[in-house]
Amino acid sequence: MTAAASTPAVEMLVPSPGSRSTEWVRPPVDRGLLATALALALLMVPTAIAMLVDPREFLGLSVWVKPLKFELSLGVHVATLAWFYAYLPARVRDGWRGALATRLMIAVPVIELGYIAFHASRAEASHYNLSTPLNTAFYAAMGVGAVLLVLVPVAMGASILLAGEKRGTPLFRFAVGLGLVLGGTMGLVTGFALGAHGSHWVGNAHSDAGGLPLLGWSRTVGDLRAAHFLGLHIMQALPIAGWFLRDVRPSWGKPMVVTIGLFLVSFSVAALVEAFRGMPFIA
């Protein structure tokens, strides 16, 4: 063991106490956020039943596909925040910032989903719905909510990077914080692109029917949703990478995590550029 310790490759790994704790198996989570995430996921059951019995379509697919997608994605989003909440410094968690963050991340997804499901049940648009002054006002309010949904992760990530709770390993903590910051930022940027463009398609398309399975992204014209997906999921992908690298010494590991993060960001940016040029993500 001592002879092998002199080679740089072995020196990279530092067995730290955190990596063997049970928290990888049963991580501490914020209960309110976890309950919300589970509720969102469970709503997929009656939504799926509704999809089976409702003949109506919107943009070529069942009216209930969009609520289904948002139940899943909002569930994943809130579950992510539920877990990473434990990495915030205690004075943030126990103070007004923690209370505000959790309350927002419980209320906003529920309201957003309610708005989307309401319009879906009427076979109408939820996003981009400017048909009446009331709908326009609601759509604007939903925009504010969406911004909050991505800004809270950015704030959480920054707080974790600056003074995070000593949980897990230093490198995993770094990946969590950076993942939240990059994922939230790219979510914001791509979200603005979607809002400003007035449609998720760039090009002449009116139906999601020929799109990718499950995701529905267009295979013929540019689709801004791809970049939004890739950007947002950095907040899961980078921590996953950080978990695999969790025992690496931070002086080696942090540059690795930063590199992976930049790569993921460039992937999302590339999808954004490609979409704006009217090219489909996958043809």
Binding site: P46, T47, A50, V53, P55, E57, S62, W64, S121, A123
Partner: protein
């Protein structure tokens, strides 16, 4: 206009079979004294399944609602939509079953005769509130019979 993946008629059969299985489980639970069959299966699994189907139908068909709840005629118009009609029927199935579960639970707490309860179950299944009313009427009678037995035993002095 696309067709549905499950037709309303098919869903009606599924719901009716599910409810029937709930009632059979309830009866078996009383007969064989198994709490899981008389409480958990009908009261939680079956009732929740029916409730989820009901919620889905409401979500899918509430836009079809032409009537209202303020007159008999209004309700008739409401149920002209087949989706809402099925929803109404499932509401009926679900809650009759829940009442059955509650009757069994209360009868078990008050140690009422099991044969009596098993006789009441089909009545509640077919005629809901009649079964419930019969149960409410028979509860005090059963308790009087119980007290009567005690008095006789006391008189004999055994």
């Amino acid at each position: 206009m696309a067709t549905t993946i499950i037709t309303l008629e098919r869903l009606f059969s599924i719901a009716s079979s599910t409810a029937t299985m709930g009632w059979l489980s309830l009866a078996a639970g009383v007969l064989f004294r198994r709490r899981a069959l008389s409480t958990w299966v009908p009261g939680i699994v079956v009732a929740t399944t029916l409730a989820l189907i009901y919620a889905a139908l409401l979500a899918a068909y509430w836009h079809d609602a032409r009537g209202n709840f303020s007159s008999l005629n209004g309700i008739g118009t409401l149920f002209q939509s087949p989706g809402l009609l099925l929803a109404g029927w499932i509401h009926y199935l679900a809650f009759d079953l829940v009442v059955g579960v509650m009757i069994v639970r209360q009868a078990s707490d008050e140690r009422l005769p099991r044969l009596l309860i098993i006789a009441l179950l089909p009545v509640t299944f077919l005629f809901g509130p009649v079964g419930f009313a019969l149960f409410q009427g028979l509860r005090p009678l059963a308790r009087i019979m119980d007290r009567g037995a005690n008095r006789i035993d006391a008189a004999v002095g055994s």
